[in-house]
């Protein structure tokens, strides 16, 4: 198993560390030549979505990444990564996302919640986080809500969270993603 981690800007290193704890090999994608390596999945980390979108397009990564996701490559986006997957950006996931939905940094918070298919008491760290305003098609399934707002969703090979599992010690969300990756690799094999 080899997972590409988009490393243009943000907290990509934190995801690599979690995957290494799970014994999964990772590599960083900073430009097109990195992207062309073989991979079984992709992580879109937290950071600033405006910066990441701009760099994706300047570096010629936008279309290749979109095509790979639409072609079935398993992808996991956290925070800014969820924004990248949403309508109006990569647009591969049928979700409409509100950026900075909890306001400025004083609105950042930590809580625990239930995530469908993952379990209870999942730690959730929200940093100037977005949430999903609207699910745009029945293909997309809500996995978690906090205070009535959708904060995690899955659509086939695509997983998105408003919060940052890579900042907490709980490995369950990443394990869930790796199960998605394994399921796809079995299909391909």
């Amino acid at each position: 198993m080899r997972i590409a981690v988009l490393a243009l800007q943000g907290a990509f290193n934190e995801h690599e560390q979690v995957l290494q704890r799970l014994g999964v090999e990772t590599f960083e994608v900073r430009q097109l030549s990195d992207w062309q390596q073989p991979k079984d999945g992709l992580i879109l980390p937290g950071g600033e979505s405006t910066v990441q979108m701009r760099l994706l397009s300047q570096l010629g990564l936008l279309e290749p990444v979109r095509e790979a996701i639409l072609g079935g490559l398993p992808v996991f986006g956290t925070c800014a990564g969820m924004i990248l997957l949403s309508e109006g950006r990569l647009g591969t996931m049928d979700i409409r996302v509100r950026r900075n939905a909890y306001g400025r940094q004083l609105g950042s918070f930590h809580t625990e919640g239930q995530v469908e298919g993952t379990g209870n008491h999942v730690p959730m760290t929200f940093i100037r986080a977005p949430y999903i305003e609207e699910i745009l098609s029945p293909r997309c399934q809500v996995l978690a809500e906090v205070d009535g707002h959708i904060v995690a969703a899955q659509q086939g090979n695509q997983l998105a969270t408003s919060f940052h599992p890579e900042l907490d010690q709980d490995l369950r969300i990443h394990q869930h993603f790796m199960q998605m990756v394994s399921a796809v690799s079995r299909l391909v094999a």
Binding site: L8, G46, R54, Q105, H110, T125, L167
Partner: protein, 291 residues
């Protein structure tokens, strides 16, 4: 020791990593910075080069001006308060700034004490020119560190010295035996727990950016290669011939700081860099403020 609010504030800094934070003085500049790929902006009335030129006492910016910039962009907005100026920091917290820079670029308000940053909910970034300063600021509650460099000069030499010194002091701590750490803490004038953290982890417990004198994509790449986790660019962008292009080039240089071919392309046709002055030519060493 670290409360939940401080955890969240450290984590916001983690989201800024691999990014460029740009000084802006107007909403228009803030929009240019955001479009060029800044991961945050620093709102201030005058950039360091102009503060230097103007002389006199330099204070926190007008909150109305800062609000104008908060409304202009969707990325985090930072602002500076004077070293030790608790009230300026309270005012910046009241307008919900995303990060306060307790900064040596402004005139210090207190020659001895820094702000007790653990008393605030908003995060603080502080400058440091060596490991001792960095750990003292972290003990006071700073959740992000940057090198001091020598702001407003366009001369990267001080930022390089500070980053190199910090990295070599970190490596020295890592190599020490447990019983040597107590003496190291004494010499660094820093809390033992933080010294121990650095010994065990080989890095600061918070994100560490480069700042002060970064003017070109090559400067930014240099700082990243020396171990910076991101870069502040102050006067270097809006004091140059083509701010839009230079800003975008520096953003790309930080992402691909090890790709010399790409850096060569990014360095082409950027127009005039800021003129710059050497450390020897200036009368005021801002890096000497606040130890």
């Amino acid at each position: 020791m670290v409360n939940e609010r401080q955890d969240l504030n450290r984590q916001l800094a983690q989201m800024l990593k691999g990014g460029v934070i740009m000084d802006v003085t107007t909403p228009e500049q803030a929009r240019i910075a955001e479009e060029a790929g800044a991961c945050a902006v620093m709102a201030l009335e005058r950039i360091p080069a102009d503060i230097r030129a103007a002389g006199g006492v330099s204070r926190m910016s007008d909150p109305k001006m800062i609000r104008g910039i908060q409304e202009a962009v969707s990325i985090p907005v930072m602002a500076k308060c004077r070293i030790g100026h608790i009230a300026e920091a309270q005012i910046l917290q009241a307008i919900e700034i995303d990060y306060i820079d307790e900064s040596e670029v402004l005139s210090p308000a207190d020659n001895i004490y820094h702000i007790d940053k653990t008393k605030f909910d908003v995060p603080f970034v502080c400058g440091a020119k060596n490991l001792g300063e960095a750990l003292r600021r972290i003990a006071e509650g700073a959740t992000m560190i940057r090198t001091k460099g020598e702001p407003g000069t366009g001369d990267v030499v001080q930022a390089v010295s500070h980053m190199r010194l910090m990295q070599s002091e970190i490596r020295r701590l890592v190599s020490m035996s447990d019983d040597e750490l107590f003496e190291a803490a004494k010499q660094l004038q820093a809390p033992y727990e933080l010294v121990r953290f650095v010994h065990e982890n080989g890095k600061l417990p918070v994100v560490n950016f480069a700042a002060g004198g970064v003017a070109t994509p090559a400067d930014a790449a240099l700082m990243m290669q020396l171990g910076a986790e991101g870069v502040f660019v102050g006067s270097g962008i809006f004091k140059s011939g083509n701010p839009r292009k230079r800003a975008a080039a520096i953003v790309q240089a930080v992402t691909n700081y090890q790709d010399a071919k790409l850096l060569a392309e990014l360095s082409e046709d950027l127009g005039e860099a800021m003129v710059g002055i050497n450390e020897q030519e200036i009368e005021l060493l801002m890096a000497e403020r606040g130890k």
